[in-house]
């Protein structure tokens, strides 16, 4: 089986890693061999390593400068259908053997599970494309500080009511990971993740408000204009000043893209293997049933180049593929690893480690058009608290945002809750916007829900 080609790190390279691919691969193999030597019938090991820098500036001064350097080894050992897992951050020879021993010891005590075991080799990835995930960034502390100062200064310059900062951060991380198993799979690759964020505080006679803006991308060149981030943070903060409560009512709710993402997150949790086999899902056994309106499509796109959730193979080495989750509103498939698949009598869908780049197909209206379509209702730009029961779908969360009338924002709203049931909310989605937020593993535009209960005064 093959692996991603990659050049060894050198000291001159930006974000050079401290362990080269050959040594990580050798460590994976050593752990697998040690497990087999202790009688394991099968084993799977992951070795990962990352380097990073995180710098925070507040009011123009560096507040913290953190250098990260992480490494870990984790191993699953199977003794027939009994399983044990162990991990360590210690890369010493003895620690490796101790970790293998711990996994084997546990496997001798756990009870056999008929569904436990390795994935069917037929599903494993044997070749894969470079997904363009590795973009080292030559950003040292000096450059990071300059960038953070520029972002924050742009924020302060935007509006005189910005009186304080809760910190502007520049973060950059480069990782490498190798997965191997006793059936001969060995694969790994490098990836990067860079982020900029700015949180500001504004004050008026009524009190203070805080909000933030951020960007995250695989390549620094995709982070956009830093000053735009400062301005956005300032605008988002200032517009919250003077928030009011609403009287309790039922009304339409428009979830801004970052909040719409959390609704789709509840959907992906509900169709995950464990939620299904533990009967802990409000979408239990729902494949083939209409879950969303018939015009809605949701796809999983793990092979999108440069995307934050992309991966050529899953946590078991099973090949990933782009596939529909919702077609014409109907649930097509769960997201399964090989264990969940055996529990449910299905085939693995390459989702060990979760769903990747879940993408809601946008409709034909932009954000302004969605406000007009809603006419009167609540635009939600922040949600706080847990308040989602994944077993029943009952939903009740704290919210802040804006009251909208005649398709126009009237005033900021705070200290209200929104409540409903996710099954009803999904079916009563009226529109999905073209304002797609690509900064995460779930990609969606704004989502307009026909009616929810808003509780306030």
């Amino acid at each position: 089986m093959s692996e991603v080609l990659q050049t060894p790190a050198t000291a001159d390279e930006p974000q050079a890693l401290s362990h080269d691919p050959d040594s990580l691969r050798a460590r994976v193999q050593q752990a697998l061999d040690a497990a087999r030597a202790r009688g394991a019938s099968d084993a799977q090991a992951v070795v990962s390593h990352s380097v990073g820098l995180q710098l925070d500036v507040r009011k123009g001064e560096i507040e913290t400068l953190e250098y990260e350097r992480d490494q870990s080894l984790s191993l699953i050992a199977y003794f027939g259908q009994s399983k044990g897992a162990a991990s360590t951050t210690d890369f010493g020879e003895q620690a490796l053997l101790d970790t293998v021993e711990a996994a084997c010891r546990i496997a001798r005590h756990t009870e056999p599970d008929p569904c436990a075991g390795m994935p069917d080799p037929a599903f494993k990835a044997d070749t894969w494309d470079d997904l363009d995930l590795d973009h080292p960034w030559a950003c040292d502390a000096t450059a990071a500080a300059e960038l953070a100062r520029a972002i924050e200064a742009a924020g302060f310059a935007t509006d005189s009511r910005i009186e304080n900062s809760d910190g502007t951060s520049v973060g950059t991380q480069r990782s490498i990971a190798f997965l191997g198993d006793s059936q001969g799979f060995m694969g790994g690759y490098c990836s990067t993740r860079h982020s900029l964020s700015c949180a500001l505080v504004a004050r008026d006679a009524k009190g203070m408000q805080r909000d933030h803006a951020y960007r995250v991308a695989r390549a620094a060149s995709d982070l956009e204009d830093p000053e735009a981030i400062g301005r956005e943070a300032a605008e988002r903060t200032v517009r919250r000043l003077g928030g009011r409560k609403l009287s309790t009512r039922s009304c339409a709710v428009l979830f801004a893209p970052e909040m719409a993402r959390t609704l789709i997150g509840s959907f992906t949790r509900a169709i995950s293997g464990p939620a299904q086999y533990r009967e802990s899902s409000f979408l239990l056994n729902a494949v083939g049933e209409p879950v969303f309106p018939a015009w809605m499509q949701i796809e999983e796109c793990p092979l999108t180049p440069r995307a934050l959730g992309s991966a050529p193979f899953d946590g078991e080495g099973v090949r990933t593929r782009n596939r529909p989750l919702i077609a014409d509103g109907v649930l097509q498939s769960y997201t399964l690893d090989s264990y969940a698949a055996r529990r449910l009598g299905l085939e693995t869908t390459g989702n060990a480690g979760g769903a990747r780049n879940v993408t809601v197909a946008p409709g034909n209206k932009d954000f302004q058009a969605l406000l007009r379509e809603m006419g009167t209702g609540l635009l939600v730009t922040e949600l706080i608290g847990q308040g989602v029961n994944q077993v029943t779908g009952d939903y009740s969360r704290g919210a802040a945002g804006f009251w909208v009338e005649n398709g126009e924002i009237q005033y900021p709203v705070e200290e209200v809750t929104i409540a409903g049931n996710l099954k009803d909310m999904f079916r009563s989605i009226v529109a999905v916007g073209t304002d797609v937020d690509r900064r995460g593993n779930i990609r969606t535009g704004s989502i307009l829900v026909e009616a929810m209960t808003v509780a306030g005064e």
């Binding site: 507040r58 001064e61 560096i62 507040e63 913290t64 400068l65 250098y67 990260e68 350097r69 490494q71 399983k83 044990g84 897992a85 162990a86 360590t88 951050t89 210690d90 890369f91 970790t99 711990a102 996994a103 546990i106 005590h109 756990t110 009870e111 599970d113 436990a116 304080n164 809760d166 505080v201 009190g207 203070m208 408000q209 805080r210 409560k245 309790t248 533990r278 009967e279 802990s280 239990l284 706080i384 608290g385 847990q386 308040g387 029961n389 077993v391 029943t392 009952d394 009740s396 969360r397 704290g398 802040a400 705070e414 200290e415 809750t417 409540a419 209960t453 509780a455 306030g456 005064e457």
Partner: protein, 480 residues
């Protein structure tokens, strides 16, 4: 004198003696440095889980490393290494020190520091406190008790976890403190099904002791029965009301109210930076008369307790609110210094790879005088909420939520039908001014809380007596 277990675990394997620590101190700190520390940590943890009546998986994890933090003015430089060895530590020290522009290194003498009181928990490794079969036995007991409690139970998921942590903190003044911290937890979740309706219930507990705790007083089975009882209640629950109403909170874990409404807002970092809704309000009334709230890291065996915090400062009882008046904030070393006060022993961190900051320990309200039954009888129409999931707060606006997982409607002074889970929302700086009755039944939670701040989770405790609050927004679906 250095604790021998800490020395054997953290220093001896790397051959670190007095002269090596002197070199480390001299390289890391000295002139131009206001504070910081070398934080050595060893942690091993295990988790056993049961599903479908069998213990089918378990995991074991070992972490070892050192975090080096250099503080100068309001600036912090930080680097860490998962290799406790001189070359790696000196490299991390030089990296962390790059935050300061100048300064000559100086000689600092190492001196032991300890709280000078009885240990709050036993240093034995809880993972070794029972053998594997006995650990599995605890899970099986819980499983059997849950299934026996109600035939409608279709799924039982239990997990048992233990952590053994050894820390050694050497600060910029050369003070050296150690702590050996056990932590165990048992959790039970059940799914119940009847006529196509599925509901869940969960329960659990733990603290800083060994696993035998769960075998005593039938605790494992009691947690299981409690999880089933909650699922039974949820099976009968009707839609929750929506709108502002009187709320009676039960004792114990509902104290998550205090953690969210005022606890985070009283952490020293937010107040130094002026980003908390409570900033600059010491001496002002922020709660009704009769309300006293403390943060106390010195309660023996509690999940939120520590002998010393992660900066080596002995924990203490800190009065946050006394008879309704705001008295003080929770501080770590850096924020205390910058605010002209002393650390309250609240400097905590998730691990050697993360920076410490002011965090809560066990935060609770002292008991009042009202009989809990009288409190309920005094409400004509309201909500009685006795169990909660988690909560969250926006410390700048002061708005906070916490989500009820078991609640009932009160009508004419009596507890009536159960209602579905709903989020309660309020404003931290004024919610406690609306407390009109304080029960005499103060309870601490069973040992289940984990607090998250800036991505770092730490174990905490909460507690309170039964409380009546005259007006909170309840986030149900039915107009009240």
């Amino acid at each position: 004198m250095i604790d021998s277990l800490a020395q054997q675990t953290l220093l001896d394997p790397a051959g670190l003696g007095e002269s090596e620590l002197d070199t480390l101190l001299a390289t890391t700190f000295g002139h131009g440095v206001d504070g910081g520390d070398c934080y050595f940590q060893f942690a091993c943890q295990e988790g056993w889980s049961l599903e479908d009546g069998i213990v089918k998986s378990a995991s074991f994890n070992i972490e070892r490393g050192v975090g080096i933090r250099v503080v100068s003015g309001e600036q912090t430089g930080f680097a860490y290494s998962d290799d406790i060895a001189m070359p790696a530590m000196l490299e991390a020290a030089r990296t962390a020190r790059s935050i300061t522009s100048a300064g000559q290194s100086g000689r600092i003498a190492v001196a032991a520091r300890n709280p000078g009181r009885e240990l709050l928990y036993h240093p034995d490794n809880p993972i070794d406190s029972l053998d594997e079969q006995a650990k599995i036995g605890i899970l099986k007991q819980a499983d059997a008790a849950a299934r026996a409690a109600d035939p409608r139970v279709t799924q039982v998921m239990c997990s048992l976890g233990g952590v053994h942590e050894v820390v050694l903190v050497l600060n910029a003044r050369g003070e050296l403190a150690t702590d050996v911290r056990p932590l165990v937890r048992l959790s039970v979740q059940v799914i119940m099904e009847q006529g196509g309706r599925r509901e869940s219930g969960s329960s659990g507990g733990g603290g800083r002791f060994g696993y035998a705790h769960f075998l005593e007083e039938d605790r494992a089975a009691a947690f299981a029965r409690e999880a089933v009882r909650q699922a039974q209640v949820n099976m009968e629950a009707e839609d929750a009301p929506a709108g502002s109403m009187k709320v009676v909170l039960g004792p114990g874990w509902p104290g998550v109210l205090l953690h969210e409404a005022i606890g985070h807002g009283l952490e020293g970092d937010f107040n130094r930076k002026g980003t908390s809704a409570f900033a600059g309000r010491i001496g002002e009334r922020v709660a009704a008369k009769g309300i006293t709230i403390v943060d106390d890291g010195t309660l023996a065996g509690r999940r939120g307790s520590l002998n010393v915090d992660d900066e080596g400062t002995p924990t203490q009882e800190t009065v946050l609110i006394e008879d309704g008046i705001l008295k003080g904030y929770m501080q770590d070393e850096m924020n205390a210094r910058l605010s002209g006060t002393r650390s309250t022993g609240n400097g905590r961190r998730e691990s050697y790879a993360r920076l410490p900051m002011p965090r809560m320990t066990n935060t609770y309200m002292l008991a009042g005088e009202a009989d809990p039954e009288e409190i309920i009888a005094s409400v004509d129409d309201g909500l009685y909420a006795v169990n909660f999931g988690g909560g969250q707060v926006d410390i700048t606006s002061g708005k906070f939520v916490f989500s009820a997982s078991e609640a009932y409607r009160i009508r004419n002074g009596r507890v009536t039908n159960p209602v579905k889970g709903a989020t309660l929302i309020g404003n931290g700086p004024d919610v406690l001014t609306r407390v009109s009755m304080i029960g005499n039944d103060m309870q601490l939670d069973p040992g289940i809380g984990t607090c998250g701040k800036e991505g770092q989770g730490v174990p905490v405790g909460v507690g309170q007596p039964t409380l009546r609050i005259d007006g909170m927004t309840v986030g149900g679906t039915q107009a009240a």
